[in-house]
């Protein structure tokens, strides 16, 4: 059974390895146009060079910074408005129709608006990530607050808890798992949004993975372009793993499928 355990731990790596081997073979056999393909081995080599020389890490830090900035602000504002509309029927009636309408707009539509308000540049890139995050967090928080149920609110009333304690000790803790779920989705969506903003608006500034990839493409440096994509994918994956970890931490108190998996040892 030791062999089975090894297989199941590493079975996630099988598919990528198969695909990479096929790709390497296809590229080396010149089955694809030479100007638009590069064997994975070369790409990985270039990736290592770019990481070692600090080029890729520099761009990664810029992109991550923009993502996390938008995530932070979007989460704070989203939690605030979600709690507000969740607790107050009046606030809900006032704000929810507008928020609902705006939530449906594609991120692309927000671009000209943000350029107008924030000018183009660093803040604008953060602004787009913020948009993606805010609506997700708001809606999840709102639903979590509403579904806390009268039960715990009555408890807080009996113990005559002041408003800030009600929010801090009852509403927010119950909403945290939903908020983190929303944040996790925001990170995934935001990573893509940030990439596209950097790629499409590469005339604003000269950093970020999206910019690096766009520039490499312009001068035909396919290996650099693919190395950039590799980092993009790896980073996105690691970000999601981190968020998943946070999600599990936040769900410690919950009776859910997750906790049952943990208790049974990951079946």
């Amino acid at each position: 059974m030791a062999r089975r355990k090894w297989v199941s731990s590493y079975s996630g790596a099988i598919l990528p390895l198969v695909i990479l081997s096929l790709w390497e073979g296809v590229a080396r056999a010149n089955l694809l146009p030479a100007s638009h393909s590069a064997p994975p081995s070369t790409v990985v080599g270039r990736f290592c060079e770019l990481v070692w020389s600090g080029v890729l890490p520099k761009h990664l830090v810029y992109s991550l910074g923009r993502l996390l900035g938008g995530l932070l602000v979007g989460t704070i504002v989203g939690v605030a408005s979600g709690v507000l509309t969740g607790m107050s029927r009046r606030a809900d009636k006032l704000l929810s129709p507008t928020v609902g309408f705006l939530a449906g707009l594609p991120v692309v539509v927000w671009m000209p608006f943000w350029v107008l308000v924030l000018g183009s540049g660093e803040v604008f890139k953060v602004g787009l990530g913020l948009t993606a995050t805010y609506f997700l967090v708001h809606i999840h928080t709102f639903q979590a607050v509403r579904s806390v149920g009268l039960r715990y609110v009555e408890l807080a009333e009996i113990y005559e808890k002041p408003l800030h304690d009600r929010i801090r000790q009852v509403l927010l803790p119950s909403a945290v798992p939903s908020i983190i779920t929303a944040a996790r989705i925001s990170v995934a969506v935001g990573w893509i949004v940030i990439f596209f903003v950097e790629y499409a608006a590469s005339q604003e500034g000269s950093e970020g993975l999206g910019w690096f990839i766009a520039d490499a493409r312009q001068i035909g440096r396919i290996e650099d372009e693919l190395a950039g994509f590799l980092l993009l994918g790896v980073s996105g994956y690691l970000l999601d793993c981190t968020m998943g970890f946070l999600q599990r931490q936040a769900n410690v108190w919950r009776e859910s499928l997750e906790s049952r998996f943990e208790e049974r040892g990951g079946r």
Binding site: L31, P33, A34, S35, H36, S120, Q203, Q218, G220, E223
Partner: protein, 341 residues
């Protein structure tokens, strides 16, 4: 063992055999399916790499530039459409906004002729697109445009300024060369990469201090008074016509016909300046003053010589040294890029 038990064993054996043969059948279907898929994919590649019939003349140009005047003349007089050896072919013109799109079209075998500066041709070749330079349209000088209201009078003054340019163009080369000659590196200047359309908006909105771009974009700003060129320094670039190697191999007529037509266009431009200027103005939607302002910067009777090819090589080396080509490769111009007669 009783009869019932024996029968039970027999039955279970039969079921097991049936199950095994079902599993084997499923495996066989799976293998056949995968093989069929592989054959389909391979077949797709084989089919798409076969040559299209010679029923078209697909002409591509990198942005709309002054240097394409001989081509515009040919287009205006329908010389491609009416050429005896190209009779019956459909002629299509296409403008590209950036170099990667050109490279994509080349690898998809969508072009017969390409008009651009030697710089994008070199970068495309380094990337892996197989094309050959067969004709020179003209030679011109590239300068850098600066905002009229800024006290920038020499390349050295560009230090720390925001300069717009598009990668892998004649202007990109021009900017880098001018900076290098003034002792500056890319890092000393805030270079912003953008297409001419984007750069125009930024320049007019004063979000750029300088703009390295080709005619007529620079001249439009000069005529309107928004900008002026840094005088005295410039870089010489050539406008060329290139043909994909695959086209050269499979379509012998195209080389002869196109070089004849473009030569004719050049002669027309030299001998009928005013009419040529009007044709260019109309084709590019420009005011005639802009056309007249740019005209003197170009030499229309240039031909490919050894000196010119040496110049191409110098540029290829220059770009490679600045890591502006794929894997910083130095293209061997004579071997890889020139179609020698």
């Amino acid at each position: 063992m009783g009869e019932a038990e024996l029968r039970a064993i027999e039955l279970s054996r039969a079921w097991r055999d049936q199950e095994e043969s079902t599993v084997k059948a499923k495996r066989l279907i799976g293998i056949v399916g995968v093989v069929a898929l592989v054959v389909l994919i391979a077949g797709y590649f084989v089919v798409t790499r076969s040559r299209p019939p010679r029923t078209e003349v697909r002409i591509g140009m990198f942005s709309k530039a002054f240097s394409y005047a001989p081509l515009f003349v040919a287009k205006h007089f329908r010389w491609f459409e009416d050429h005896p050896e190209l009779k019956g072919r459909k002629v299509a013109y296409r403008t590209f906004d950036d170099r990667p799109t050109i490279s994509a079209s080349l690898s998809a075998d969508e072009l017969d002729l390409l008009f651009c500066a030697e710089i994008p041709a070199i970068v495309c070749r380094a990337q892996g697109d197989d094309l050959r330079i067969v004709k020179l349209s003209d030679t011109g000088v590239q300068r850098v445009l600066v905002r009229a209201d800024l006290p920038v009078n020499s390349p050295a003054d560009l230090r720390g300024k925001r300069v717009g340019v598009l990668q892998a163009t004649s202007s990109h080369y021009g900017l880098l060369k001018i900076l290098r000659d003034a002792g500056l590196s890319e890092k000393d200047v805030d270079i912003r990469y953008m297409t001419p359309a984007e750069a125009r908006t930024a320049f007019e909105a004063k979000q750029l201090d300088a703009w390295a771009v080709w005619a007529p974009f620079a001249e439009v700003q000069e005529v309107s008074g928004a900008g002026r060129e840094i005088g005295g320094v410039g870089a010489w670039v050539h406008s060329i016509m290139a043909i994909p190697t695959s086209r050269l191999k499979h379509d012998k007529i195209i080389l002869k016909a196109s070089t004849e037509i473009i030569e004719r266009g050049k002669q027309f431009v030299i001998q009928n300046t005013e009419q040529a200027q009007e044709i260019v103005a109309k084709e590019m939607g420009l005011k005639i003053e802009v056309v007249r302002k740019a005209w003197p910067k170009f030499t229309w009777d240039a031909q490919i010589t050894d000196a010119v090819v040496d110049d191409f090589q110098q540029k290829a080396d220059f770009l490679a040294d600045l890591d502006k080509t794929r894997q910083s490769r130095k293209v061997d111009v004579r071997k890889e890029l020139m179609e020698l007669p």
